[in-house]
Structures are given as C-alpha cells and as structure tokens.
C-alpha cells in the first residue's frame, strides 16, 4: 500500500475523473453564478455588466429579509428536531433487550425513501383547511382549527416540521451506524465502574459520535438554508411570499421574471451563507490535536 501511495502518477490519474467532474459540474458553475450575479441577464441573450446593482436591490428587497428569517427558522427547527429524535430513537433501538427493534428501525426510515412530492401531498391533505388535523380537532369538540399552511407567520414552522419528519430517518440511520461502530468494551467497563445506562450514553456514546453529529449538523443546516421543494409544493411560497427562502427568490427571479442576474445574486448570498455555516461547524468540531497545534503556534507567536 505504501509503495502504491508513493506512485504520484497513479494517485493523480485516480483522482482526475472525480476532480474533473467536480470542476466541470460544481466549481465552474459556482464561479459562473458569482460572475453572472453582477449582470443583467434574461438567461438567453448576452449579459450586461451592472456591477453591484443586483446586490443593492437584493438587500433593499423586503422579501430578502423574510427569506433569511425563514431559512434561519427552518434550519434551526429541522436540526433540533432531527438530531434530538434521531439520537433518542437510535439509542433506544440499540438496546439489545428492546422488543420490536427491527420494526421500529424500518418504520423510522420509511419516510426517507418516499418522494418529497408524495410526502408533501400527504401532509397537504392532513393540514388543509378541511384536512384530517382540523377534522380531528372538530371531532374532539375543540375549536383549535387552524389555517396551517396559509398563516403568514405559522406556515414556515409547519413546513419545517414536514421536512424534519421526512428526513429524521436519515440521521437516525447515520447515528445507529455510529453507535454500532463503538466497541462494547467501553460500556462493560462503564458498567463495572457503576455507571448507569443513561450515564454511559452521555459519557461514551455521544462524545464518540462527534464526527457523525458534525455530518448531521452540516446536512441539516445547509439543507435548511437551501430549502425550496416543500415550500413550492405546500404553499407556493405564499401567502404573499411569506414562506420564501433565498432559493425561492432565485427561482422566482430567474424563471418567472427572467431576471437571472438578480436571481443569481440571491443564489450567491445563499452559497456564501452555506460556506459560513460549514466554516463555523468545522471550527466547533476541530479535533483536539488541531486545537493543541493552534495553541502551540499561538504561544510560539507570543514568545517571538
């Protein structure tokens, strides 16, 4: 293996296809998004350079504020819901004594394999004005019937719940896999030391799942920032754009108003937001060695 890893040409040739695909389909298009965000362009003709005009317009757009607020609510809600429930369920079914583990494992994962459209149609039927949820309230004599998807303030929470419900199973699967990779020796040692089940999970399971949680956090938060499909199907971004996100702004500007330059300015801001989130997560989850190294170099700088 060492010999093989020393072959630079082989390494380069093996990396090349993936690198080429990444450059052609990801990196270059992202650069193009940045470039076109400084232009006025209808997607078909030659773009005209307009400098920062699209950005000035974007920052003054009231929908921009609403979109960012919605993304924040959406990202936080789905992250908390998915990570919390995925952890609880994963730990629960990891207990060998628990009955019905196999059934629950499949049940929690089923929404993930369903199409987003199917899930949204299902929840749309449940949450509509004459839907199942309101009918249930009526059946129990409660007057707590709501316009779940049509409320300008509450709809975003409802949409976030639908997303969190569907994708919780994905994080659940990741955490279950993470728990399985932890050696049982740690738990036995903890039990011998008199640690309770909950204590063992708190002091062993969760710290050893740091890398898994980092990945879960990245997909939840960036997924929240990029949210679009659920809004598009459940509310169409309404009422009056109150469930818009930056992706929806981009879609609306580009495909409804043929203002690709403006839409791509919204997309640029969204990409930057995702990058900032990634950087913050990476900073929080730096490993100990990296932290020590940083500390050492800081001391060295002070000493110099």
């Amino acid at each position: 293996m060492k010999k093989y890893m020393g072959n630079k040409l082989a390494i380069f040739l093996f990396i090349l296809p993936a690198l080429a695909i990444f450059l052609i389909f990801d990196f270059i298009p992202i650069l193009q998004v940045f470039a076109y965000s400084f232009t006025q362009w209808n997607g078909l003709t030659t773009p005209t350079f307009t400098g920062l005009e699209n950005y000035f317009r974007l920052f003054q757009d009231r929908v921009f504020v609403t979109s960012n607020k919605n993304q924040l609510i959406f990202a936080i809600l789905i992250t908390v819901y998915q990570m919390l429930f995925a952890t609880i369920f994963a730990i629960t079914i990891s207990d060998a004594k628990m009955k019905g583990r196999k059934f629950l494992r499949v049940a929690y994962f089923i929404p993930v394999i369903l199409s987003v459209t199917v899930v949204c149609q299902l929840w749309s039927a449940i949450l509509s004005g004459q839907g199942l949820l309101n009918k249930l309230f009526e059946a129990f004599g409660s007057d707590y019937t709501q316009n779940w998807l049509g409320d300008r303030y509450k709809a975003i929470y409802v949409i976030a719940f639908v997303n969190a419900w569907q994708w919780m199973g994905y994080q659940f699967a990741l955490i279950v896999a993470g728990i399985k990779s932890i050696s049982t020796d740690y738990y036995e040692a903890a039990r011998i030391d008199g640690c309770t089940n909950a204590g063992a999970h708190r002091h062993i399971t969760i710290p050893l799942l740091a890398e898994t949680y980092k990945f879960c956090l990245v997909i939840s938060l960036t997924g929240g920032i990029k949210a679009f499909t659920e809004m598009n199907i459940l509310t169409g971004g309404g009422p009056n754009k109150s469930t818009y996100t930056l992706t929806y702004m981009m879609y609306n500007a580009a495909f409804k108003k043929s203002e690709y330059g403006y839409g791509l300015a919204a997309a640029t801001v969204m990409v930057l937001e995702c990058m900032i989130v990634m950087l913050v997560i990476n900073f929080i989850f730096r490993d100990k060695d990296q932290r020590k190294e940083e500390e050492r170099s800081r001391r060295k700088r002070h000493a110099d």
Binding site: L44, R62, N147, G150, N240, K256
Partner: protein
Amino acid sequence: MKKKVLSSLICLSMCATMLFGCGNAASEQTTTQDQAPAAETTAAAETPAAEAAETTEATGEKVTLSIYTQYADDDTKVPYDYAVEQLAEAYPNVELNLIVQAQDDGQTLKTLAATGQLPDIYQASTDLINTFRSSNQIMVLNDVAESTGFLEKLYDANKDLAYAEDGNIYAFPFSGQEYVLWYYNKALFAEYNLEVPQTYDDLLNCINVFKENGIVPLALFGQEGWNTAAAFDVIATRYNAGGIKALDEGSASVTDQAYVDAANTMEQLVAAGLYQSDATTTNYDQASQMFLAGEAAMFINGQWYIEDATKALGENVDWMFYPAADAASYEAGKAAFSGGGSASGFAVNPDSPNAALAAEVAEFITEKYCEAKVMYRHNPLVALDTGKEPDSEYPAMMKKLSDTLPSITSTTKFTWGLTNSTFNDAIQSESQGLVSGQFSAAEFIENMADSMQ
C-alpha cells in the same frame, strides 16, 4: 512492478472511457451546431412557406414536427385531437410529436431555448414572446400570416392580438377576447331568498347569510396567482375601468384613489368572509369541486368554465355583473369587464430544420383549434372567424355573454397577457396577501408601490 502496470492500465482505461463519453457528446454537439446555420439557410431559402409544404408532399418524405402545447383537460385536449385529425388529412406527410406543456411559468421552454432545443412549434405567452424576441428564437410570421390568409380570418376585435409591441406577428393566437366571469349558484341564492348582489352592501348581506348556513360564499383557487389577481381586478374595474391593465401599462398608479378604494373594499370583503379561510392554499380542482357540489355559492373563473359549469349544474348556474359600490356604479360598470385577449398563441422555432413548414402547420393548427372550440366546446370567443357552428346549442350563459359583448366598452388583461413581469409578479403575490386576510390594504398599496419603483 506488475501492480504498477495494472494500476496504470486501470487508470488509462478509466480516462479513455471518460474521454470516449465526452467525445461522443462533443461530436453530437458539433453536428447540431453545424446543422443550425444550414437549417437557417434552408428555412430562409424555402420561403414562402407553401413551397416547403409542396416540396415535402412531392417527395413523400415523412416529416415529424415537435409541438409544445397544453394537453390537460377537455378544453385543451379536444382542440388538439381535432387539429391532429385534420392535419392527417391536409398534410399526410406531417406528423406531430406532442410535448405536453408544463404549468411552470415557461420554465421548461426557457430552458429548452437556452440549450438550443426549442420544439418546432410551441405555445407562447406574451412574456415568452418578448423574451424570445430578444434572443431571436421566435420566428417572424408576417409573411406566413399573409400568404395563408390568416389575417383575413381574424375577427376585427382580435386584430391587435396578432401583433407584438414592435408591430410584427410572432404567434398565431387562437383565443379571442376572454372574460373573467363571476359565477353563482342560482339554486343556493333562491334557497336562501337572496337577490343577485349589485352593491357591496348586498354582497356583504349574502356573505352573512351563506356563512350562517355553512356555505362558502365564494370559492377561490388562490394557490394560483392569476385567480387572486382576477379577484382584485373585478373590484378594481369598478373604480377604474382600466383595472390591472392600466397599472401594467403605467397609465395609472396603485396609489391612485381608485386602487386604494379597491384595496379597502377587498380587505372589507375578506374580513367579512367572502372567500374560504384557506383560499390561498386551495387549488383549482378543490375550489371548482366546492362550487359544483353546492358547497360554495360563487366562483370566479374565465368564460371557458361555462361548459363545465353547465354540464355539472345545468340551469342552476349563471354569471352576474360584478357588484359595485353603489347602484349607479353597478350600472356603469356593466360595460367594463376584467380579462381580455393577449398576443399569445402558436409560435415557431426559426432554427427548426423545417421552420417554413412548421410555420404553415402552426397556422393550420390555430385555425383548427378555433374550429374545435366553436364546434365542440361551444365557445365562440375565438380569434378567427371559422364559419363553423356548434354541434349543439350554446349554453345559456354563453348566449347571455354573446348578447352582452356588443355593449362591452373596456377590458383589462389576464395575468398571462401582462407585459411588465415585475408588476405581474407583484400583483399575483400581493393580491394573494389581500385574499389571505393577513395583509392590510395599506400594506398592499405600499408593497405594490415599492415593487414598481
């Protein structure tokens, strides 16, 4: 050493596979690019269009033209099927390859245009015509319109619909002037001893009675922005006959007293419960079902709904003139309708290898669409004078509309006929806000004014 050789061989085979794949795509692209100028030359050389058709017929060569058009309900399926049937007789060598139009605000068509894959014939709205004009992806049809006699067949009232802002013809329109109608269930009004409302006070009374009896006063499909815009327009036209058309053209401002009054009226009606509480998340099927099942007393839709409404409700359905602030305004407003025609219809891809033939076929299909709409959909409001008669008597509502037509002095526009895309986007979303009852009239005016700045 063996391992090195093996790994290098694997790497090389991977690279070769990748290059082969890309190479094929590149060569295909080159072929398409090479063909494009040739196609243009062919299209240009073969004009007038008739020559192209004759050549095709003479050679007996089978030509398949791709067509991107609506094919969703009876109103779109019946005319298309009829046109295909007629085409097989008139142009035996021409076949149509239908690509069903997606309800996506032209997104699919714009993507096809951006990638050079526009169909030979496509249904284009005003917005698409304007966009494709700037990128030269829509054929100028002036000569074809003249040579096929299309212009002579156009009703005088629809002459303007054929021409774009620059005076050229880019699409053959098949729809004539269309109208937003305020439908109502006669049986429900009779059951609760209600007169057809003429003023907003009458309407408020109807709302109260219907709500007390568990009936939705007016079912709106507010998930579709055009329907909420139409709901605002039927009120706005009572204060300014120009309605949303005047705002689109810039001849009026949303801060004008007429529009402020219209927004306030709509806010008041929404607060009283004119629309169902989840109107903004209700789609067409749901709203229509409510109306046809007698769960809703009124409905706002285009005149194309007459056929379906009559089929389901028979004599129990009719349309009313839009209510107004007072009796005098109501009488005066009878001549001003919401809706109108638009410069949209079948357009042709100028880069098509059979552009000239496609243009001729597009004109032929347009004519057949009009015929089918008159004969089988009982809709005389088409762009062309086809000389055809309906296969059965016109429904009573259509007769009433036909009788009213001569007295109509002004129309506005449907959202797909609006030319200012910023205004179009704003009016659809802001009117939805008003319908939701969660945005005030003041917010509506302020946001609309902001958008238009």
